[in-house]
Amino acid sequence: MTSYLLYALAGAALCGIGLFGLLRLSHLLRKLLAFNIMGSGVFLIMVGLPQHQSGPDPVPQALVLTGIVVAIAATALAVVLIRRYYHQSGMTSLEGEAGSREGGPL
């Protein structure tokens, strides 16, 4: 067992934590942070797992870099949306209005 595998396993734990936050928390910014935690978990697995098997591998590193940019773009978009939503409705979560009862976290 190398330390890289430890990264991957830590990634698995982060994924679980992030998923919990995404499903359970209702404040939208917290949800977004949970998403980012889960994303970090995925990136850790992505780099750690191949590195453990065959040493440093630039391909997953590049993939993760791309993935981070995509995640940043998504996060930024989400923040803009959430701020506008807050501005228009004064709410910080999706629940709270009768119309949205039917929907849960997803």
């Binding site: 590049a62 998504a74 228009q88």
Partner: protein, 233 residues
Amino acid sequence: MIRAVRTCFIALACIAFSAVLAASIWAIAGDPGQGTLPQLLSENMSRSGVEHPVTAVLLNFRSYDTLLEIGVLVIAGIAGISMSKTTSLEDPELRTSDPLLYALQRWFIPLMLVLAGYLLWAGADRPGGAFQAGAVLAATGVLMRLGGIPMDFLRPGLLLRLGLVLGFSVFLLAAVVSVIGGDAFLAYPPDMTKPLILVIESVLTLSIAMVLLALFVSAPVNDAEDPEEGDPS
């Protein structure tokens, strides 16, 4: 009560998920690596035009990913400015007037600009590159904005939009140039590889910084909205 039970349930499910995931990782990690890819990569490095493998993957071998990735960033930027006030992105309320900040700014802004330039240049043979440089550049912008230094280009005019897509368009043009020479999409002409990648990296840095900055400053929103379809208003 129900809430607590629900929380427990979700927590258990998430722990189970992590456990299964870890077990899978363990199982996969037990197998010897199949990867012939790193080897293949190092064999082809000489043709990639750059020395650093990650940059080579990003901007040459898997440049299509990067092209689309910049597209994603531009989309976020577009969606961001579509929500912003139409007159100005500057909001005096968000300006701080802290003397320490002013002092820091004078030192930090030039320093960060140099750092961004270095990161861009370093990308050729060691960790670094367009995105890192862009991020630092954007941070510089954020600092400038907080300090109230006017940035006219951030008004949502043509200039801003041009800035958003500059990097993307140059990348796209570079991608399509090769087609005229009868080559595949995104295949750089062999002797042009290095300068092309350099140009792409530089403009990408600018655009990435621009997008991030635009997203940062575009948050104060306007109240105007579309009526829902079928609403009498």
